[in-house]
């Protein structure tokens, strides 16, 4: 992999190191979960008005594709593969690439309970894909943040047990702040990250919800909020469960509300849930520890990045101060000997400025690599969600089980009492019949809950397995990328300083 650009495969040769990150470096690409967001995101030049991706055109006509792979404008990197960052090669050639751009302010047209009657921001969502589930290759739609919330809610409903990437936060701020440029830009970046992560998830990328979100123009035809208990699966279509009769429906609502109150933490059993699966409990605890350490490492990574940045800045300022001093000594020189010696200072100053540039470049790369840690915070949240789905499904099941058994107990009592009355007890018999219907409905619900639970457990399992695999690869890539960069830039700096040391060697006074 790494030696592909060179004839020799040896990693330890110094020349390779210096040049390594000059080439297209596959290490900085991720091949699995998630876009590793650069600090400077790519600028996509897709003006909203003259949009060649409009789906009114036949998909395969001779339209110039938009510059998705435009160079990152801010970059002063030696290796420029930033444009590939959202390229997620899954298996062979499947890909889906999503970008978010062109925020636009729009007015609320319809008045409803939900609208503030003011204005809101929409974003242009551009998709390019070759997945067969998307009948087409290029799509563009405009969506507002509320639509994203809806999408997230529907996915959470439909894909219980899956590790669904968490959506960007709603911010509870005033509408003025909402439309301020930095906020809008931050949100745009966050949305893009989110959608790309969805696109990276092997199951969710083909979900109906996502397909509708990315393809259907105009108002998003996904229901807001949830009033129907969903049963998602591989295909993702929302299948309604056979409606249980009165009592059953109430129970469902109760359980749904319970689920929503399952708070997002790993702490012990939820009230009522009796989790006996030891393996699950162990795994949950491990995930909790892992999350804690990822948080810690992510924080230290931030501190490291800041320290590297500061080092670069100060080195640059030092260089500039010496350049000024050199210039001053040259201009104001009272003696010629000064001018001759001032060259030494100038060499040092130039070296310091070069070193400063190297630190800045090193840091941009470091940010890219260590961002993996930050991304995994989102992943851990998704895992929490998946585990919470399981706990709430178990809770539902357990409550239904106990409901069934208490109903049966009541039925027994009624039958016993009714049997004592000779010739039957009309009112009691009626009650018993009604009770038996309720029991049947509850039994059905229980069976659904069992299937739900089992399915969610299986989703959990496969997701955790997938995550472990991807995490191993991602962390490995991160380490490699980080280390290669440190080596490369350290070598560059060593060269620069060695040269200055040689140039000033006449000042060597000691044996060291």
């Amino acid at each position: 992999m790494m030696g592909s650009e060179n004839d020799e495969n040896s990693l330890t040769s110094k020349e390779d190191m210096s040049n390594l990150f000059l080439h297209d470096d596959p290490l900085t690409r991720t091949n699995v979960n998630g876009s590793h967001n650069l600090s400077p995101p790519p600028i996509i030049i897709t003006p909203a008005d003259s949009d060649p991706l409009s789906t009114t055109n036949p998909p395969n006509s001779n339209i110039e594709p938009p510059p998705f792979y435009a160079d990152v404008i801010f970059s002063s990197f030696d290796d420029n593969n930033a444009s590939d960052d959202y390229y997620i090669p899954h298996s062979s050639d499947d890909y889906i690439k999503i970008t978010v751009s062109s925020p636009k302010k729009e007015q609320e047209t319809e008045r409803s309970m939900l609208s503030s009657g003011g204005s809101y921001v929409t974003y242009l969502i551009t998709t390019r894909t070759n997945l067969p589930e998307y009948k087409g290759t290029d799509f563009t739609v405009r969506r507002r943040f509320r639509d994203v919330v809806t999408l997230a809610d529907r996915l959470a409903e439909a894909y219980r047990g899956f590790c669904i990437p968490p959506r960007p936060d709603k911010s509870v701020v005033e509408s003025q702040v909402m439309q301020r440029q930095e906020f809008v830009e931050q949100r745009r970046v966050a949305l893009e990250k989110y959608l790309c992560r969805l696109g990276a998830h092997p199951v969710i990328r083909c979900s109906d919800e996502l397909k509708i979100f990315l393809q259907v123009e105009g108002k998003l035809p996904l229901k807001m909020g949830t009033d129907v208990p969903g049963e998602g699966g591989g295909g993702g279509s929302v299948v309604e469960v056979a409606q249980p009769v009165r009592g059953g429906r109430d129970l469902f609502r109760v359980f749904k509300e319970l689920r929503q109150t399952v708070s997002n933490d790993w702490g012990g059993a939820k009230p009522g849930v009796v989790e006996e699966d030891k393996e699950f409990l162990e795994r949950k605890e491990k995930m909790h520890d892992l999350e804690k350490e990822i948080i810690n490492a992510s924080q230290q990574a931030e501190t490291l990045v800041k320290a590297q940045q500061d080092m670069g800045e100060t080195m640059g300022e030092l260089g500039l101060a010496f350049i000024k001093l050199t210039k001053f000594d040259n201009e104001e020189a009272v003696f010629n000997s000064q001018r001759a010696r001032a060259n030494d200072m100038k060499n040092l100053a130039t070296a310091a400025v070069k070193a400063s540039r190297f630190y800045r470049e090193l840091n941009s790369q470091t940010v890219k690599h260590l961002d993996t840690l930050h991304d995994y915070l989102g992943v851990m949240m998704a895992v929490q969600g998946a585990f919470a789905d399981r706990s709430s499904a178990l809770l539902t099941l357990q409550m239904l089980l106990s409901e069934v058994s208490s109903l049966e107990g009541r039925a027994e009592k009624l039958e016993a009492a009714s049997a004592k009355v000779f010739g039957g007890d009309k009112s009691r018999v009626k009650k018993i019949e009604e009770l038996k219907e309720t029991i049947k409905a509850t039994e059905d619900a229980k069976n659904v809950a069992i299937r739900d639970y089992e399915r969610i457990k299986e989703n959990n399992r496969s997701e955790v397995e997938r995550l472990d695999r991807e995490r191993r690869a991602d962390f490995l890539n991160m380490m490699k990328g980080f280390v290669v960069n440190q080596v490369g830039y350290a070598e560059k700096m060593a060269n620069v300083w060695t040269k200055v040391a040689e140039e000033t060697c006449l000042y060597n006074r000691d044996s060291s």
């Binding site: 995490r471 280390v483 060695t498």
Partner: protein, 401 residues
């Protein structure tokens, strides 16, 4: 009591030169903390090696403390006006830092440089006060130190001088006299301007050098913390990730140590010399002030002498009986005036020589500092590259697995 510059012998520094050549060298070593609590202080050993007859023998060791060095400097400043007396490291320091090993070492090194600069200066090296400093026993030294603060009570004297200066400036202005009390030759103006600007530039360079030391330490600390965090993360992961994280953490800690070491080197070999030169330039500014004072005195006394002469002539013409007195006064003033002129001219001569010496010395010492800095940075960078590089084979093996 001074030996004039014409008579100054070229005294050499190295004791290893042929014994017929005169040499004088001194070193400041072995700092030791003495005393307790608030009165605690550091004492240093000052070792002198010489073959000069004025000294008590080929080698002498005395114990000195910081205020002894201050005494020496003050004496030299008073007696060798026009000479750029080498600067001392600062007196006060943050209380808790005052006795840290690093600070003590930095101070010792600075005092060593101070004494050596004096011993190698063509004029200063013949100073009697230097001999006292290098040879007197501790009690004698202490006596000298306490005595002289009375007579040469510099600080109040400074104030008095400033006060007199202000007074005379005010009275001049009030009386409408437009005495040119400042030298305004173009070369001297250029020199003054150069010195003042040089201080600004050096101070800025020193500021950034100091910050750079801090940055080294901060980067080192952050790598240490990062290393620890990554190790903990590795403990949560299975193989091979777990072991790799652990190795990564270990390397990170190693690199951190290198950075801390280099930080200290940059401080001692790069930032301190810069700071030293800022102080040196400040010392030159003090000399400039002395020259201005001497110039003023020379002008004023010359003026006064002329007035007295005119007055004397007047009295002689009128055959006044005050002639005798006036003549005595006139002769006295004339002698003073001539002395003031000699003093001023000596300052000018010295300064001209000193500025040449200073610039050469600066270029040389700065060159050394730059070389050290570049070498240090190269060493650091190479060390960092080597440390990280060692991880690559394992990382590569793990990814192709």
């Amino acid at each position: 009591m001074e030996i004039s510059t014409e008579q100054a012998r070229n005294v050499m520094q190295s004791p290893r030169s042929p014994s017929s050549q005169p040499y004088l060298s001194a070193s400041v070593t072995d700092p030791v903390k003495l005393g307790n609590g608030v009165q605690a202080y550091i004492s240093y050993r000052v070792i002198t090696k010489t073959n000069l007859p004025e000294y008590q023998g080929p080698e002498k060791i005395v114990i000195r403390r910081y205020s002894d060095f201050v005494w020496l400097r003050d004496r030299l400043f008073e007696k060798f006006k026009g000479v750029f007396v080498p600067p001392l490291p600062e007196k006060s320091a943050v209380e808790k830092f005052r006795f840290s090993a690093e600070f003590i070492e930095m101070r010792r090194a600075a005092l060593d440089i101070f004494v050596n600069r004096i011993a190698s200066h063509p004029e200063l090296q013949h100073s009697e006060d230097l001999r006292t400093f290098l040879q007197a026993d501790e009690e004698t030294m202490e006596r000298f130190r306490f005595q002289e603060t009375g007579i040469f009570n510099k600080k109040p004297a400074d104030f008095m001088q400033m006060f007199r200066d202000v007074q005379s400036k005010v009275s001049d202005a009030v009386l409408g006299k437009e005495k040119p009390v400042e030298e305004t030759t173009p070369e001297y103006e250029k020199l003054k301007h150069y010195i003042f600007e040089l201080e600004n530039h050096l101070a800025e360079a020193q500021k950034h050098a100091y910050r750079l030391v801090k940055r080294h330490r901060e980067l080192g600390q952050s790598l240490l913390d990062f290393g620890k965090a990554v190790k903990l993360l590795g403990a949560c992961e299975g193989e091979p990730t777990g072991k790799l994280f652990s190795d990564l953490g270990t390397k990170s800690e190693l690199v951190s140590i290198k950075l801390q070491k280099e930080a200290q080197q940059v401080l001692m070999n790069f930032e301190e010399p810069l700071k030293d030169y800022v102080r040196y330039v400040q010392s030159i500014k003090a000399t400039i002030t002395e020259r201005a004072t001497a110039f003023k005195q020379h002008c004023e006394l010359a003026e006064t002498t002329k007035l007295k002469e005119i007055n004397l002539d007047k009295l002689m013409l009128t055959r006044s009986d005050k002639v005798g007195e006036a003549e005595i006064e006139y002769r006295e003033i004339k002698a003073e005036s001539e002395e003031a002129t000699i003093r001023f001219e000596r300052i000018v001569k010295r300064m001209n020589e000193e500025i040449v010496r200073f610039q050469e010395q600066r270029m040389e010492e700065m060159g050394v500092a730059f070389h050290q800095f570049a070498k240090g940075q190269a060493r650091l960078a190479n060390g960092i590259a080597d440390a990280w590089r060692a991880l690559l084979p394992k990382l590569e093996a793990a990814s192709s697995a």
